[in-house]
Amino acid sequence: GESVGLHLPTLSVQEGDNSIINCAYSNSASDYFIWYKQESGKGPQFIIDIRSNMDKRQGQRVTVLLNKTVKHLSLQIAATQPGDSAVYFCAEIQGGADGLTFGKGTHLIIQP
């Protein structure tokens, strides 16, 4: 089975609210994690990444949190906008590998 998974297939939030998308991984050897956003008909777009020696990393309106104790990754999006509607995937690189292992994806829906 997949080593990276997501808790919710769909997340609906009100425009302007903050959203949190969660991801669990099972391989403790994974040392690099990335969040991608995929809009309909497009390829995944790199959002933010984090290495296993970090707990938190912030970007513009996005924050990624890594909890290695429970093997949990989250993406926080502040003040969501209609353009944030997409499917969000977490991905990991397992130690020694180069390609990514993707989670199932969460469809973020922004309600007006």
Binding site: Y32, Y36, K42, G43, P44, F46, F89, A91, F102, K104
Partner: protein, 114 residues
């Protein structure tokens, strides 16, 4: 970020035929990968395209079905051979350098096999 161009962007193919997808990058990149995304699903790594040597395939994918070429550091092709309807998917090229954390995707090639 690298600009990645894939051709074709979409195609409708007949069962039993083969199709080659091209991936062109606007700069030299160390790593190139091919992924498959079946309808409504996540992405699955097919193989790592190695420049000047045979591709490295993931479990469940074989060279006879998905031959890959990478003649230089900016170009790769993926062929989907002897296609069946189960091969209907989006095929995505990805490039990057793991050490810098830059891993980017093309827009994908959507194949429908009848």
């Amino acid at each position: 970020s690298a600009v990645i161009s894939q051709k074709p962007s979409r195609d409708i193919c007949q069962r039993g035929t083969s199709l080659t997808i091209q991936c062109q990058v606007d700069s030299q990149v160390t790593m190139m990968f091919w992924y498959r995304q079946q309808p409504g699903q996540s992405l699955t790594l097919i193989a790592t395209a190695n420049q000047g040597s045979e591709a490295t395939y993931e479990s469940g994918f074989v060279i006879d079905k998905f031959p890959i070429s990478r003649p230089n550091l900016t170009f790769s092709t993926l062929t989907v051979s002897n296609m069946s309807p189960e091969d209907s998917s989006i095929y995505l090229c990805s490039v990057g350098r793991r050490d810098t954390g830059e891993l980017f995707f093309g827009e994908g090639s959507r194949l429908t096999v009848l």
